[in-house]
């Protein structure tokens, strides 16, 4: 069964080793490209001949299957833990309630990586697969679990019960608590995964999603970007999945994750089906992504005061499963750094000086230019302080019909918002905060920030004190997505008084001006 190469390699390897010792540190990688294929083929042959089998699987009606424990363990963390537990010469594993066709299919899948099944059998097979945590099959089913359920990490370690990935889109499935020990293979996979070429924007997008821990999306995106991971099944053949690929959408303002917020079910990110279609169904991905993102540079924007966001790979499934839900419903991850904060690029002293100037009679507009503070921010602050500006920056900035459009925009976004979508989202204090965070150079960022704040406010029923230190996380990124969505639909009716170039997405600003 052993193909020739292996024998050829050996002397060669010996030679190389020698060189190494003579010459020093140089090492050589000997690689047989067919090694994996060979291994798989051999396994298949072994199981067919029932050679070296060391366990018997007994299903209903006394149908027995012989198999290799090592293969079972390799394909299922569940088996791995069980079999590690029970070291025996030859063990029997009884599966009361499992039909022979189910086991046959699973075994074939485990040995060859694929199996043909009839459609009618799929649900049952998947169920058993889930129970046995068959890699690839199990991972895909994992997402269907409901919030109350537990989730498993593949691996041999003892079960850990975790709230499962809830998707508001997926129908509640009565999934039993199960476990998810960390996969022994994870490092490898993540390494492979890290190599996946992703442009910074995508990465960023991923990171932000990670931040929100919107894992289903993440997984999907990753799936699209990772041709690498061969350990994941590409798809379930028969699944009527919408395979449409999800190109990373990058909006003009560079805020990448907005779209993925996928607030509405009809978005491409329809978790469940996609899940099935995606390769990155394995939990490893979370891990690898996270760690990856931890280093991923944000290149496209400068964040003056933004410390690099930390995506700790650490507490994986536990939290993020919750947050998956969060991604779908308005929810504020408390530890999250507000997105809009990134835009603040002036210092407190800038604004203070600007205010002082206004107090002394300078126009808000002038002051804002002088100190590089967003004029709106300044104006709002000044107004709040009760200072009359010499030449009140016209609320004139008010572009009128916008307010009217406001609800619309929100509605668009608010599809799954719990709040009343038509109620104004903007709270002045929020805007203020947001405005404070606006960059000097940009209406655009400022607007964006406001949009975010507005969204945050919308999602966040309890109002946060407007004056709280900027570090306090308030805006959940998920929500900016809403806003972004909206704003996309809105158009540039805004001419910034400041002469700043204003991006199309501006409804928040409009609103603010209306309501002030």
């Amino acid at each position: 069964m052993y193909p020739a190469p292996i024998y050829n390699d050996i002397p060669q390897e010996a030679q190389l080793r020698k060189m190494e010792s003579n010459e020093g540190q140089q090492t050589f990688c000997l690689k047989w490209n067919h090694h994996k294929t060979n291994l798989v083929e051999i396994l298949e042959a072994l199981i067919k001949g029932e050679t070296y089998v060391d366990c018997t699987l007994v299903v209903d009606d006394q149908v027995t299957f012989k198999a290799h424990r090592v293969v079972l363990a390799a394909n299922s963390p569940y088996f791995q833990s069980i079999l590690a537990d029970v070291p025996m010469d030859h063990c029997s594993i009884l599966f009361p309630g499992v039909k022979d066709f189910e086991m046959r299919a699973l075994l074939e899948y485990m040995y060859t990586g694929e199996v043909n099944v009839t459609q009618a059998h799929i649900p049952r097979i998947m169920k058993v697969a889930e129970q046995l945590e068959v890699k690839g099959l199990f991972d895909m089913t994992e997402l269907r679990r409901q919030p109350g359920n537990t989730e498993r990490t593949p691996g041999a370690s003892p079960p850990r019960v975790v709230p499962a990935a809830p998707s508001s889109l997926s129908p509640p499935a009565p999934a039993p608590p199960s476990r998810w020990p960390p996969p022994p293979t994870a490092p490898v996979l993540s390494a492979a995964y890290d190599s996946v070429d992703m442009n910074p924007l995508k990465r960023k997008k991923l990171s932000s999603m990670l931040a929100t821990r919107d894992t289903p999306i993440l997984r999907n995106v990753l799936a699209q970007n990772s041709p690498v991971d061969s350990s994941q099944p590409i798809s379930l053949v028969c699944h009527p999945v919408n395979q449409q690929s999800v190109p990373p959408r990058l909006h003009s303002n560079g805020s990448a994750h907005e779209t993925d917020r996928a607030s509405s079910p009809q978005r491409p990110f329809d978790y469940r089906p996609r899940r099935l279609s995606s390769r990155a169904s394995s939990p490893h991905f979370h891990r690898s992504d996270r760690s990856e993102d931890a280093h991923s540079p944000y290149t496209e924007r400068s964040f003056e005061e933004e410390t690099p966001r930390n995506f700790h790979p650490s507490p994986p499934p536990t939290n993020f499963q919750h947050d998956v839900r969060a991604g779908l419903a308005p929810y504020v991850p408390p530890q999250q750094k507000p997105e809009w904060k990134r835009y603040k690029q002036y210092t407190r002293s800038d604004i203070l000086s600007a205010i002082e100037c206004v107090r002394n009679g300078m126009s808000a507009l002038q002051a804002s230019r002088k100190y590089g503070v967003p004029s709106r921010t300044l104006y709002d602050k000044v107004k709040k302080l009760g200072i009359t500006t010499s030449r009140p920056m016209s609320r004139g900035v008010k572009r009128e019909p916008n307010g009217a459009a406001f609800p619309y925009g929100l509605t668009g976004a608010g599809g799954n918002d719990e709040g009343n979508p038509t109620t104004p989202l903007i709270d002045p204090s929020f805007l203020q905060q947001a405005l404070e965070g606006a960059t000097r150079d940009g209406g655009r960022e400022a607007l964006h920030a406001m949009a975010l704040a507005a969204a945050a406010h919308a999602a966040l029923a309890p109002r946060t004190p407007p004056r709280s230190p900027p570090q306090s996380p308030r805006t959940p990124p998920p929500d900016d997505d809403h806003v972004e969505d909206l704003s996309v639909s809105r158009r540039r009716d805004l001419d910034p008084p400041t002469g700043v170039i204003v991006p199309p997405r501006n409804f928040a600003l409009d609103c603010s001006s209306e309501r002030d």
Binding site: Y78, M88, L94, P96, G97
Partner: protein, 128 residues
Amino acid sequence: MGDQQFFLKWNDFQTNMVTSFRHLRDEKSFTDVTLACEGQTCKAHKMVLSACSPYFKSLLEENPSKHPIIILKDVSYLHLQAILEFMYAGEVNVSQEQLPAFLKTAARLKVKGLAEPPPQMPSIKREG
């Protein structure tokens, strides 16, 4: 004849048996079957299982293996533990909301004392 019989009785026999079994289980001594569900396993004694459940009895009889692993479908690990506890100790605490599901599981596994005579076994076809 004068061959008189004496009746020897150890009053604590049952208690002793119960505590001993429990000890054995706690120590995992002589365990010879592994029950697995929901990715978790627990070890038990075939003898106890057989004694307490005709379902396990037939299952184990049909599959004479030194140390079989029984992977139970649709059984909650929590319930399995409770059932084992019941089998070993004769009593167990189950919360009220768990009770119906627990009894259902017990019925499926035909646990004596919990599942009364004809338990319906939906997906389990094994009959002793």
